[in-house]
Amino acid sequence: MDKFKTLTSTIVPLPIENVDTDQIIPARFLKATSKEGFGDNLFRDWRYDKQGNPIKDFVLNDPTYKGEILVAGKNFGSGSSREHAAWAVAGYGFRVVVSSFFADIFKNNAMNNFVLPVVVSDAFLSEIFSSVKADPKMTLTIDLENQTIKNNSTGKSHSFLINGYKKECFLEGLDDIDYLLSKKDKIEEYEKKRVAF
C-alpha cells in the first residue's frame, strides 16, 4: 500500500448529517465479489436519477468541487458494516474523510483500506464548510506525522487523534494481517489455555 505522510488537497463538501452506509453504497451494488469498481456507485442514489442521469445539484456532479478529501457532516458512516462503503470512498479517489463524528465500524473499515478518517470539532467542521462556500478552491492540509489538519483559507489548525499503531500502518503502508500472521505462536499458546465448550 502507498505510504501516507501529508496531503494537501481541495475538498468535496457534503454537509449532511448521519450519512449511512446505505447512502454511501446502496445494497443492490453489494453483489460484486471483488473490491474493484465501487467508486462508480459511491452515493449512487444521490448522484444519479432512476434513468442513470447525473443529478445536477449533487456535489459529486458539480465540477466546482474536486479533491482527495471528503468533508462530511456529523456521524458519517452509520448503519450497515459493509466495507463496500470504504471501498467506494477509496475507489472514488478519496484518501481522507473529515467529519466531527464517525460510526465505529466505518472508521475501522476506512483505515483498513488506507482512507484516513479525521475527526474535528463541530466548530472546525462548520468553518471548513463556510470556507469552501466562499472559495471552492480552498484546501486542507493533513499532516499525519504531527496529527494536524489545517484549513489553509483561515490558517487555523486542529489536531486529531489516531493510535500509534494505526499511524505506523499508514506511515509505512502495512496492514493488520501482516502483523497478526507474525503472531501465530502466541495464538497457539493462547488456544492451549482457552476456555471452550
Binding site: S78, D104, L181
Partner: protein
Amino acid sequence: MNTLFDKIWDSHVVTKVEDGPTQLYIDRLFCHEVTSPQAFEGLRNRGLQVFRPNQVYCMPDHNIPTMNQEMPIVDPVSKNQVDTLDKNAKDFGVQYFPMGHKKNGIIHVVGPENGLSLPGMTIVCGDSHTSTHGAMGAVAFGIGTSEVEMVLATQCIFQAKPKTMRIRFEGRLKAGVSAKDMALYMISQLTTGGATGYFVEYAGEAVRNLSMEGRMTLCNLSIEMGARGGMIAPDEKTFEYVKNREYAPKGDDWKKAVEYWKTLNSGDDAVFDKEVLFDASEIEPMVTYGTNPGMGMGINSSIPALNSIEKSSRDSFTKSLNYMGFQSGEKLIGKPVDYVFLGSCTNGRIEDFRDFAHFVKGKKKADGVVVWLVPGSWAVDKQIKAEGLDKILTEAGFELRQPGCSACLAMNEDKVPAGKYVVSTSNRNFEGRQGPGARTILAGSLVAAAAALTGKIIDPRTL
C-alpha cells in the same frame, strides 16, 4: 471494570499492541455471501488456508429468493455471489449451510437456534447485526471484510477496547409492548450515534423478564444507536434455551459450562463508563416516521415540530420527512400502508410468528396490502408448521415465504416500490433500504399485524 463485557473480553486477549489495539481471540466466525468473497480472495492472494475451519460457519442469506429456492437463483449477479460462497466454503473446508439446507437461514437467527452462539464466546461476522448473539451473554459484534480476512487467517482480530455502557430498563412493560418497542424507544432517546464507541449491557427487571427471543431483538438493534454491540448476562433462561441445542455442550461438558457461565455477570462493584436508566412502564408501541431508526415515537404521538429540532439538524430532518412524505407535527395513526414485512434478524423468529398469527387469528387480511411473511430460518418455518400457525395464517388470507433476509435490505426480488409505505419489523428505515424510493415505518410484530389487517397504521391494542 469487572463488568460482564470486561470478563469475556479480558479472557480473550492474546496480546496487546503498545499504543494500539488488542489482539482478540475469536471463538466463532460467521460468514455470509455479501461480505466474505473479498476476504476469501485475500487469503488466496496471500496463499493462506483458513486457520481454524471448524470455528467458521458460512451460509448465504442476503441474496437468496424467498420463493422457489429449489430452483436456481434467477438474478445472475445474486447467483454469482451465492455460488462464490459455495465454492469458497468447499475450497477452504469451513462449515457450510447452503441455500435450502435445513439449518440455513439468516445467520443471526441460525446461530442461537443451533447452539452455535453460546455464553462467554467472542462471536464476529461481517454484519453489523451480529450484536444479536449478545443476548446469549456473548461478546458479539460486526466487522468489516478486511477483518473477516484477519479472522479467517488467524482466528484473531485487532480491536480497540470499547467503553462500556449499562442500560437498565426498570419496571414492567405494558401489555402489547415488546422488545422491539423497547429498542426503538431507547434509540429515539439516545439517537443513532448515542452509543458509538460503547459496548452495551442491558439489565433491569424488564430485560430479565424478556424471553430469549425478545433479548435477541433488543441486542440486535444495539448497532442502530451506534453501539459496538449489546449483551445480556446469561441466566437460567439462557441455560434453558441453550440446553440440548445441536451444538451446545452435552453431558459433563454441559455441567462445567453452566458452572462457568454462572460467573458471567457484572459484579456489584462493576463500573461502567456510562449508565442509562429507562422506565419500562412508560414505553408505548413504537413506530418510526423518518429515515433513521432514531426517528421513532409512540404510535399515538405526533412527529416533532421543526422548531423543536436543533438548528444544525433541521435540514437533515426536513430532507428525511420529505422522503417519507410526512409533515412535521402530524400523527401517523390512520395513515394508509401499502406493504407489511414480518421477518429479518430483528423479528423473524418463532415468537414473532406466534404473535402475528395469534393476532390475526379469525380475522382477514386487508385488501390492497401486500404482506410478506418471511421466517428467519428453515427451523422457524418448521416450527410454524409444527404449531399449525401456517393454517391460521392461510385462513386469514396470508401466505408464508421461504427464509432469508428478504425485504430487510431488498437484495433479492423482495423490493418495496418507490413511494410506497411499508410497515416493517426489520431494523433500518434508511432511504432506499427496502427498495429504491421505498418508505419504511419500523415497528414491532403486533403493529405489523394490525397494519396487515386494516391497511393502516393503527394501535394494535385498539383492535
